[in-house]
């Protein structure tokens, strides 16, 4: 439950103020807010808006929506609105009278989104022109477009009469009555197809029956004209599915969607053929071909179910049954490609059902389009058309792609892998299907096809995207993790889910407390997953997860797998997570804690379930997995290795051999992006997910930026040397952090620190000779000093602290005697200390309260101390006397502030205001503290703060005219998957198993 404390406070005062009579209100607010100007302005603003908001949000929402835009009597261009015909998936439809042509029309008002995007308008106009050219007795005519009052509308032929849906609701239609209707529908669809128009939304409610037994099909092609451009082919963009939510599908209309439409592929003529088959079936039986209790059931029925063929009446000829079956072939490549086959069958039926067209004329005209089939005509009689013969006349082509030995699967342009801190890939055991996580959902790519399709029901953004997919042992299911937000309590939850590869909504298997590090699906249909101090097991059918194995304190298991025989567990183990102190919420994200790369020290272990013994097989490796060729494959520093392993004796029987290099790996979570099938297919993401890159730039007081020519790196904490010739900066190279020095004139980088422990937060001494920095050497937070030209570092001070706590230095005082560092514990809170440089160095507490104080600096004249504190509820900049005898302090910022910096002459104080940018405060000379109001210098696009990072991210040049800032740089991410076949042969050759 989110409850911002600041907001609660404002609300309370607002409510109290409302209880005071209006005349006395502002005095009341002034009194209760006292010195807090920010709070007072919030409450006053809220009160003012409360006055103005009269009439706003009054009525229940549903009332405001039931107003139609147009009412009878309104005039829309030359059309007089007479009444409402209905409210459909694409807008309201009105009956209107055309005053010029003296006829009634149907006016379909268009979504406003259409008119605001010129590209869409242009495309829509083109589509509409084509539609308007459709001139067929069975198609409701599009007369034109009309614009008035800032709205657009389609002017359509008004078709009076009931719909086919109404007719079917009264019961199944007799075969004799159904055929003429079916024929007309087929002719309408065929005519449109000939013009290149696909209906895409054919269904009984779109088919009108006029009183003289004529059929008219409505809404041809509008589906395509009105849809927004959909890059990936998204199920939720179909016009009958108006909502983006998973549950937004209207039940009645999902029933006519073809399998390829459900899977998110583009609809073409064959999708119309499918819908036609559904309609024909429903006309004859009175019930839909595919139905279910809810949308997922309906989808499941369409994708995997069969209509009840026995429901077709006995008097339906086998040829028609065969036709329906051919229309409803689930694979569109096996389906009839167009309406001609339907027309052929319907027209070739006996004279009793000739209807409006004579038998021979229509049959001949259709045959004329297929000269090759002339030989087949002689065999055709009304009742004797066999499905096979139909097939041979119109046989579709099958395309089979032979996969090569190695190939790449590319993501679509603008498509990106999601959450590379967790495993992105999964291969089915048979090696035929690849699953990957991109654009916040799971994609399925059969390796013999050319396209990946999104798996519906797996969508989510950011923290709610699916992660870590893995296949079931039988290859029919995909397990994955997905989080969400509980609607009522607002608490986040994380669940293990599974989805079938043939479609249908995902099922929840169980909920978990935190996102595990990898999972596997065992032969006995249980799922194993590992996390903090435990390995869990849950039945794949659902239920409660049980602890299979308890690990030691601070241990973390990744990707547990049951070895053949089921009596031993293989997994990757990290033993020192207590020291690393990774906060649980951050452990699963690539943002993680800066510098978390303990996975180089991980071990691959095997644990016998019989004896309870654990054995370390390998030191230094992650994502260990046993493959049927008799090897364990694992990753170490972005290279895949294989090592022969005997699964019976549980022993390694050879040396490790590198097999593939440059396999992307997430440093924060150790997740290496590769996956194997049981048949020797390997899929992996080559490259690396580039770490954050930033650029160092100069910005002058007016906000004009110039480059520094330093290369883009993962920089933090830049500091300009006192003479302005060099910049000391912290660089993270993917493994560790160190202090580097950039020479501005020579444009050269030199590394200052090289210790494997992290070194950060460099500050220059006033004479420019040494650098003071913070380090985690020795496993404790300390401050060190080292000559800037290189030389030995000496330790100044170290404090008893927990790992990942930092002692962040401040700029050195102008007389080179002291620093006011901040002790920044990992969990939060922080206190100020004073370090007398001596010698000998001496550290003592300076300011320790229950609030967080940090980022302090002594003024150039050494009289004042500027720092930030949360005592008001959020970080603000305060100033107090540097000798700190009294507790007197003055508030400098007004709407939040962090990371104060003194101007070189002490007449200005700068700081960063969240959401605003760099602020400047003029400081007046005098005995007491007097400062002006903050003024913004320039704005946001630079990095002012980083979460969990306690240091100031900007600095000022010696002449005070320019600021050194950090700027984020976009980096291209990997976007391919490489698939390699027959890797087991390769493994056996390069890492042979001794006999």
């Amino acid at each position: 439950m989110t409850a911002d404390p600041q907001w609660q406070h404002v609300k309370k005062l607002f409510g109290a103020a409302l209880n005071v009579e209006p005349g006395k209100r502002s005095a009341f607010v002034r009194d209760t807010c006292r010195a807090d100007d920010g709070l007072r302005s919030e409450v006053e603003s809220l009160l003012a808006n409360h006055e103005h908001a009269a009439g706003f949000a009054e009525g229940p929402a549903i009332e405001t929506l039931t107003d139609l835009v147009l009412r009878p009597g309104d005039v829309f261009g030359p059309y007089a609105i007479r009444g409402t015909l209905g409210v459909g998936g694409m807008g309201e439809v009105y009956r209107a009278h055309d005053s010029r042509l003296q006829r009634d029309v149907a006016l379909k008002v268009l979504p406003a989104i259409l008119s605001s995007d010129p590209e869409r308008v242009a495309r829509f106009n083109r589509e509409a022109q084509v539609l308007a050219s459709l001139n067929h007795p069975n198609i409701a005519h599009l007369y034109g477009l009309e614009e008035a009052q800032g709205m657009g509308a389609l002017v359509l032929e008004l078709v009076e009469g009931s719909t086919l849906a109404d007719r079917i609701a009264q019961g199944a239609i007799s075969f004799e009555d159904a055929v003429p209707m079916a024929r007309q529908i087929a002719e309408a669809v065929d005519a449109a197809h000939t013009q290149g128009i696909v209906h895409r939304d054919l269904k009984p409610s779109n088919i009108k029956l006029t009183s003289d037994r004529t059929v008219k099909v409505l809404d041809f092609g509008l589906a395509k004209a009105l849809e927004p451009p959909a890059p990936g082919g998204d199920v939720t963009r179909s016009p009958t599915i108006t909502s983006r939510s998973m549950m937004g599908v209207r039940l009645g209309t999902a029933a006519y969607m073809s399998p390829e439409q459900i899977k998110g592929q583009a609809a073409d003529r064959r999708s119309d053929v499918w819908a036609y088959g559904c309609v024909l079936y429903e006309m004859l039986t009175g019930a839909p071909a595919f139905e279910g209790e809810d949308i997922s059931d309906t989808f499941a029925a369409i994708l995997r179910g069969e209509p009840d063929w026995s429901a077709l009446p006995a008097n339906v000829p086998p040829a028609v049954t065969a036709l329906i079956k051919q229309c409803l072939a689930k694979d569109q490549r096996e389906r009839i490609t167009g309406m001609s086959a339907a027309l052929f069958v319907l027209n070739a039926l006996g004279p009793a059902v000739a209807g409006a067209h004579s038998l021979n004329t229509s049959a001949r005209s259709i045959l004329a389009r297929y000269p090759k089939s002339a030989a087949g005509v002689l065999l055709l009689t009304g009742a004797g058309i066999a499905a096979g013969l139909l097939w041979s006349i119109l046989g579709p082509q099958r395309v089979v792609v032979q996969p090569p030995v190695q190939f790449s699967v590319n993501l679509a342009p603008n498509q990106n892998f999601t959450n590379f801190g967790r495993h992105l890939l999964a291969l089915s055991p048979s090696g035929t299907h690849l699953v990957f996580v991109a654009d916040g959902r799971l994609y399925l790519r059969p390796l013999d096809r050319l396209e990946a399709t999104p798996i519906p029901g797996t969508e989510g953004r950011g923290l709610y995207a699916p992660r870590g997919p893995f296949f079931s042992a039988d290859g029919k299911w995909i397990g994955f993790w997905q989080g969400g937000l509980d609607v009522i309590s607002g608490t986040p939850y994380m669940a293990l889910k599974k989805v079938s590869i043939s479609g249908g909504a995902p099922y929840v298997i169980c909920a978990v407390d935190e996102l595990p590090f990898g999972a596997s699906w065992a032969e006995d249909d249980t799922i194993l997953f590992g996390g903090r101090e435990r390995i869990w097991r849950v039945p794949a059918t659902g239920g409660k997860a049980e602890v299979l194995l308890k690990l030691g304190p601070g241990e973390l298991a990744q990707k547990p797998q049951l070895l053949p025989g089921g009596r031993a567990l293989l997994f990757t183990l990290l033993t020192n997570t207590l020291e690393s102190g990774v906060a649980p919420q951050e452990a699963g994200t690539e943002e993680g804690v800066l510098g978390e790369r303990r996975w180089d020290d991980a071990q691959i272990v095997v644990h016998s379930l019989d004896t309870g013994n654990r054995q370390v097989l390998l030191e230094g490796g992650t994502d260990g997995r046993y493959v049927p060729s008799g090897h364990i494959v694992f990753s170490y520093r972005e290279t895949l290795f294989a090592i022969p392993f005997d699964a019976t004796t549980l022993k390694v029987v050879g040396g490790r051999v590198p097999i593939v290099e440059n396999v992307a790996q997430a440093t924060a979570t150790g997740a290496s992006h590769f996956t194997f099938s049981q048949t020797g297919v390997l899929a992996y993401v080559p490259g690396n997910f580039a770490p954050t890159l930033r650029a160092l730039a100069w910005v002058d007081r007016a906000g004009r930026e110039t480059a520094t020519d330093a290369p883009a790196r993962d920089y933090t904490y830049p500091r300009v040397s006192p003479d302005g010739s060099r910049v000391a900066v912290t660089v993270f190279d993917g493994r560790q952090e160190d202090v580097w020095i950039w020479d501005l004139a020579g444009k050269r980088f030199t590394r200052l620190t090289a210790d494997p422990a992290d070194d950060r937060y460099s500050e220059w001494t006033p004479n420019g000779r040494d650098i003071v920095f913070a380090s985690q050497r020795g496993g404790a937070a300390g401050l060190w000093r080292q000559p800037a030209d290189g030389g030995t570092a000496e330790q100044l001070v170290v404090t008893p602290s927990k790992p990942r706590d930092w002692l962040v230095p401040s700029p050195v005082s102008s007389d080179n005697t002291r620093i006011v560092p901040t002790l920044l514990p990992f969990g939060g809170g922080s206190d100020l200390f004073q370090l007398q440089l001596g010698p000998p160095p001496h550290l003592e507490p300076l300011l320790q309260t229950s609030f967080a104080e940090r980022s302090a600096e002594i003024s150039p004249d050494r009289r004042w101390l500027a720092y930030q504190s949360t005592e008001s509820g959020r970080f603000e900049i305060y100033v107090r006397r540097a000798d700190a005898v009294s507790n007197e302090r003055w508030l400098v910022s007004s709407a939040g502030g962090q990371h104060a910096l003194w101007g070189r002459d002490g007449r200005e104080l700068f700081y960063a205001e969240p959401g605003q940018g760099l602020m400047r405060v003029a400081v007046e000379a005098g005995a007491g503290w007097k400062a002006g109001t903050p003024v913004k210098l320039f704005g946001p696009p630079y990095m002012w703060t980083i979460p969990n990072f306690g240091g100031r991210l900007y600095d000022i040049s010696p002449d005070g005219q320019r600021f050194l800032v950090l700027k984020s740089v976009d980096t291209p991410q990997p976007s391919t998957v490489v698939v390699v076949q027959n890797l087991f042969e390769n493994l056996k050759r390069r890492a042979p198993i001794p006999r």
């Binding site: 919030e42 808006n49 949000a57």
Partner: protein
Amino acid sequence: MNLDDRARDRASRVTHLLRAWGRGDVEARSELLPLVYRELRRQAVGYLRHERPDHTLQPTALIHEAYIRLVGQRRVAWQNRAHFFGVAAHMMRRILVDHARAHRAVRRPAAGLRVSFDAAQGVATQPVDCEVLLLDRALAELAELDTRQAHIVELRYFAGFSEQEIADALAISRSTVTREWQSARAWMYQRLTAGRRRGTP
């Protein structure tokens, strides 16, 4: 299975899910949502299309009807009923927002808001969102500050519950509901008319 059996079956399933959810079973909630949604949507869409004969319908009747249909007369602890109403209000919001988007974005522009959007341009060249869509957006931001307050707005504006009904459902005082609603409204109005993002509310 005839209609009565099916209704009975479903009622017992929904009650079971509500109780399970009340006990903390997360899965039960995800199973419950589609049932509630489907029920509500059927009624709401019918209402929106003027297909209901009773145009004097109280909007909360939709949710109460859904409750009766889904849970029946069974005894369910008040907390579970509160859960249900909260879920239903949230679903109503989705249904109505979806409807507003799919149909026309330009409707009766929200009173008082049109002026501030158009002020700089004279006639609006961009369609102005209707009140439902604007509120939905502002509410999403408010929810980041105070989820309970956002629930109250959902119950009040999207589901049409009265302040007393909300107070009963959430077991808080009527005056608390009033204050929460008034401050939420003022805050959202402020956000919608401010044009530029300021710091905290």
